[in-house]
């Protein structure tokens, strides 16, 4: 202790001559650029996946329905829900912003909000308008900062050079490690479930992959889709187009994960996992057509204890999956295992039995309590342009069926395909393989009405077709199949497409005749759509049924205007496997309700 210790504190007096250090106008101080203030949500970008709600550890976020507000609409890929934030609970950690799958959620740097009513502090950002909605600054997820991997695990596939001269399956399937990594990317939001026509429990079976519990996964698959092995390979996967992960990265490979489950469980175990059918009810149901819709109906009804007879005109079951999809996408043994499983539930198959020729509808009606018609779309449509009746102008479905039936087709040296859908790609790629095998070179031109951005085919199909040296021309409208004096087919003449639909949205293509091209080809194949062979029904039944633009009119359960007859699958819904499966479930439910009602009447 010294004199200095007494005098030194007087240094504090110098502060008398300093300016005050406080901020002059604290009420208008702008927070820093990264400040985590009040939330902003771009509700058009937001899809209501609820991942923000899932990660919030305070339970400060609730997902509320706002459908109808500001253009938000519940639709495939949008739940119609938007996050409501409770500032009585929020801790401003911004994990909701970090995890947001679309990047719609962010935080402004606004931090002052005075309100007398505490309930006001619970609001839906973007819907309840606030002055900070347009703030430029605030916390945005930094570039590259992700709490889940945006990139898909690549599927092992054959290279174009390896696959072009054979029908060997292209896709190899995930390893266990790859599948777990891919499954790990899923945020379990369930947006996909609503989109899937048959509402498969997608997040749950992806969880099963993550946990390595494949048997539980398989049970989930077969409870909702008896064509899980097939869908695991060739499903049109609408789920992936709406996947929350697709907004800022690749969608989860849902189809490949489904396939992975079916590959990991030994087929011998399937039956035990799916379980035994219920005790016999004594009812009998006839199903016409052993495609996905018919066989799904058969599977469901057989599990419920009803006796099911399936009548199939071809020698094998599977419908278009067997006779329309090339083997490099869907090998026979996959289909056969699927059918064997369904048949093992007690379904009786009658192959090579054509309705109208071998057995009549009237006979079916008499022998069974209910009849399901699911004969698919087996007749190819024609462009009806001049020359399309030439012998070397084929329908894609007919050619595909012949190839799948094992016929040794003699491929032409050059060929033109009309159409831009998956069937067009299938026939082009199948013929490319035959050309490579027989001639050692490929000359296939595919012409489509649509432009590249509106192609109906799966983008993967288009990419792989190009890899396999198929020439794809977009916006070309067929005008004539050109034939020379000796009745030889020369090729196809096309005009550039101006527009496909008229102002009322009806199909009425208009062309620019100044832009004409001639595509040389010994064959022309039309792949522009299919229709149903309803002639088998016979005049009497055709007369009785209600029709809607060439299709049988059914109610929402698939029942026709005749109380004993249901109709399902492509012939009522249009071509798609997973829609057919969904339709099969719907029909089976309706028939089961009908049969149960009959039981009640009898007991009463």
């Amino acid at each position: 202790m010294s004199v200095r210790d007494v005098l030194s504190p007087f240094a504090a007096w110098k502060h008398l001559f300093r300016d005050p250090v406080s901020i002059k106008d604290p009420f208008n101080r702008e927070a820093s650029e990264r400040y985590r203030g009040f939330h902003q949500n771009d509700i058009e970008k937001c899809i209501g996946c609820g991942t923000c709600e899932a990660i919030c550890q305070n339970g400060a976020i609730d997902m509320l329905p706002v459908s109808g507000v500001d253009g938000v609409q519940t639709r495939p890929g949008d739940s119609g829900l938007r996050p409501r934030i409770d500032y009585g609970r929020c801790c401003w950690c911004a994990l909701c912003v970090d995890v947001c799958m679309t990047g719609s959620l962010s935080m402004s740097n606004a931090y002052k909000w005075v309100e007398a009513d505490p309930d006001k502090f619970r609001y839906i950002p973007g819907v309840d308008k606030k002055h900070w909605d347009d703030y430029e600054h605030g916390y945005r997820r930094p570039e590259g900062h992700r709490l889940n991997a945006p990139e898909r695990i690549e599927m092992p596939e054959l290279e174009p050079g390896e696959r072009i001269d054979s029908f060997a399956e292209i896709v190899g399937g995930y390893s266990v490690e790859q599948a777990r990594l891919e499954a790990d990317r899923c945020v379990t939001c369930g947006i996909c479930v609503a989109t899937c026509p048959t509402h498969m429990p997608i997040p749950e079976y992806i969880s099963a992959v993550r946990d390595g519990d494949y048997e539980a996964g398989l049970k989930l698959l077969y409870d909702s889709n008896p064509f899980s092995q097939i869908c695991g390979k060739i499903c049109t996967r609408r789920c992936e187009t709406t996947c929350a992960a697709s907004h800022e990265g690749d969608p989860i490979a849902i189809r490949w994960l489904k396939r992975h489950i079916t590959e990991q469980v030994p087929f011998e175990r399937y039956r035990a996992i799916i379980g035994e059918p219920a005790a016999a009810t004594g009812h009998s149901v006839a199903i016409v057509g052993a495609g996905p819709a018919g066989m799904t109906t058969a599977f469901d009804l057989a599990r419920l204890g009803h006796k099911v007879h399936v009548y199939e005109a071809q020698s094998h079951a599977g419908g278009m999956t067997r006779y329309g999809i090339p083997e490099y996408r869907l090998p026979f043994d996959t289909i056969q295992r699927e059918i064997d499983l369904i048949v093992s539930m007690g379904v009786e198959m009658h192959y090579n039995t054509r309705i109208g020729a071998d057995i009549s509808m009237a006979q079916l009606q008499q022998d069974h309590d209910a009849v399901v018609l699911s004969i698919g779309l087996w007749l190819g449509r024609s462009t009806r342009v001049p020359g399309s009746d030439h012998r070397n102008v084929y329908k894609a479905v007919d050619l595909l069926r012949r190839i799948r039936d094992g016929e040794q087709l003699q491929a032409p040296k050059s060929m033109v395909v009309i159409g831009g859908g998956n069937v067009a790609m299938d026939i082009a790629r199948s013929m490319a393989r035959l050309q490579q095998q027989q001639h050692g070179q490929i000359a296939i031109t595919l012409t489509a009405l649509e432009d590249k951005s509106h192609f109906l085919a799966d983008p993967v199909e288009i990419k792989e077709s190009i890899e396999e040296q198929v020439t794809i021309l977009d916006s070309r409208g067929p005008q004539e199949c050109m034939v020379d004096d000796q009745d030889n087919l020369l090729g196809l003449r096309t005009w550039r497409v101006h527009s496909i639909f008229d102002e009322n949205g009806r199909f009425a293509p208009s062309y620019d005749d100044g832009d004409e091209m001639v595509h040389e080809g010994e064959w022309v194949v039309e792949a522009i759509g299919q229709m149903s062979d309803v002639a088998i029904l016979g005049d009497e039944l055709t007369e009785k049924l209600d029709w809607n633009r060439g299709r049988i009119q059914v109610d929402e359960d698939g029942r026709t205007s005749e109380s004993w007859l249901w109709s399902a699958g492509d012939m009522v819904r249009g071509p798609d496997v997973v829609h057919a499966v969904a339709d099969g479930h719907r029909t089976a439910r309706s028939i089961h309700a009908h049969l149960s009602a009959l039981d009640k009447q009898e007991n009463a």
Binding site: M1, R4, D5, V6, S8, P9, A11, A12, H15, V21, A31, S32, E33, R34, Y35, R36, T51, A54, I55, Q57, N58, C91, W92, C93, A94, L95, D98, V99, Y139, P142, G144, H145, R146, L147, N148, A149, D184, R185, C186, V187, T188, S207, R210
Partner: protein
């Protein structure tokens, strides 16, 4: 330095070590200091038994701030624990974020990018500066010097501005995520930080003149709460309290974590081991932190990622394991003991905060024979943050 009356009038210790205090004798008085008391740094209370104005016995009572963090974390996923850990210590939250993240990273096998480690070090030193500035104001205030607290609060506020622009928040930064840190340094950060550091140094010079060279402060703080160096191991004393007793314990140099191996630092020590020595150790340690911030900014890499690729955090499962991660916070050794069982939730989390040992066991030992008016000063000199006692 402080002078106390004759000890002979106090009750004798019983053979089991407790005091024989007969309250009905009229000689003693029970007096509660806290839980609401300006001399208590947070919500805790000390139950004093006084004889005249002198403390005969002090019993600490905590629990007023108990929020059950450790239990809460057992019911939260690994990512969901991240926003709550910082709340365990208000004035220096970053150690919770760092220790938790480091423990999770170790058990999950996540490699943190190098640059993230530099930014983490920067944040921890910035937090230490804040914590010490708050302490200095509190220590001076406990002895009646109100103006020092105003100066240090101003300096701390400047550092909070830097926190705000770097992390997006002033108090609970929530910036150190398992896997790295959220973002890079903002544009022009170095320059603004340098201005802030200069302002802090200038404030500290004033604090040195008015507080450390102040006869009143010296008279009251010197000799108060003397910690015997032998108690350091006995009581688990760490940080400035141990260093003021001449024991050079500092996790930063003893077991360097993050990038401390690449920085120049020397543990600050003193030998008097009283409240004054502890305050002085902290003041000098603060200056060292200012220097460390400059070193980090001068040496850190400016390119590269700041965040590792994590598995999907929504269902992040961490294999079975256990670990203890420690760091040197402004009050001593801060540690997280984390046990995982292969599920998506921590099996057990134990937070080791230095306040627990300092403010409970050590305080009860030091408080005997202290004048009532010095109790607050003694308590602050142990630098206690009650929330971390009651995780």
């Amino acid at each position: 330095m402080a002078e106390y009356p004759d000890r002979s009038q106090y009750p004798a210790h019983l053979p089991d070590g407790s005091c024989d205090i007969d309250l009905s004798s009229g000689k003693y008085l029970k007096l509660w200091q806290g839980p609401n008391h300006p001399g208590i740094t947070g919500n805790m209370s000390v139950e004093l038994t006084v004889c005249g104005d002198e403390v005969v016995e002090g019993r600490t009572h905590v629990g007023y701030l108990h929020r059950g963090f450790e239990k809460l974390m057992e019911r939260r996923t690994f990512i969901q624990c991240f926003p709550i850990v910082c709340r365990i210590c208000v004035p220096e939250p970053d150690f919770n974020e760092y220790c938790y993240a480091a423990a999770v990273e170790e058990l999950a096998g996540v490699e943190v990018p190098e640059k993230a480690n530099w930014i983490r070090t920067l944040i921890l030193e910035m937090g230490r500066v804040n914590s010490y500035l708050m302490y200095l104001g509190g220590q001076a205030g406990a002895f009646g010097q109100g103006v020092i607290g105003q100066w240090t609060t101003y300096a701390r506020d400047l550092m909070l501005d830097r926190f705000e622009e770097l992390t997006g928040a002033r108090i609970y930064h929530m910036f150190i995520l398992p896997g790295g840190v959220r973002d890079d340094l903002p544009e022009g950060f170095d320059q603004r930080m340098e201005e802030t550091l200069r302002e802090i140094e200038s404030t500290l010079a004033d604090v040195h003149d008015t507080m450390f060279r102040n006869a009143v402060f010296k008279k009251r703080a010197m000799g108060l709460g003397r910690v015997d160096p032998a108690w350091v191991d006995e009581y688990g004393v760490t940080g400035p309290v141990a260093r003021a007793a001449g024991v050079a314990k500092d996790v930063r140099s003893d077991q360097p974590y993050l990038v401390y191996r690449e920085l120049d630092l020397e543990p600050v020590i003193a030998h008097e081991s009283d409240a004054y020595a502890r305050a002085d150790v902290r003041r000098r340690d603060l200056l060292m932190s200012v220097d460390l911030i400059r070193q980090v900014l001068a040496r850190m890499p400016r390119k590269g990622p700041v965040m590792a690729t994590l598995p999907n955090v929504l269902h992040w499962k961490i294999p079975r394991g256990e670990t203890y991660v420690r760091g040197e916070c402004s009050r001593g050794e801060y540690g997280y003991y984390l046990v995982t069982d292969g599920s998506g939730y921590p099996r057990r989390v134990n937070v080791r905060g230095p306040s627990y040992t300092h403010a409970m066991a050590l305080l009860e030992k030091l408080i005997v024979n202290v004048n009532i008016s010095d109790v607050a000063g003694l308590l602050v000199s142990l630098h206690t943050y009650p929330p971390e006692i009651e995780r």
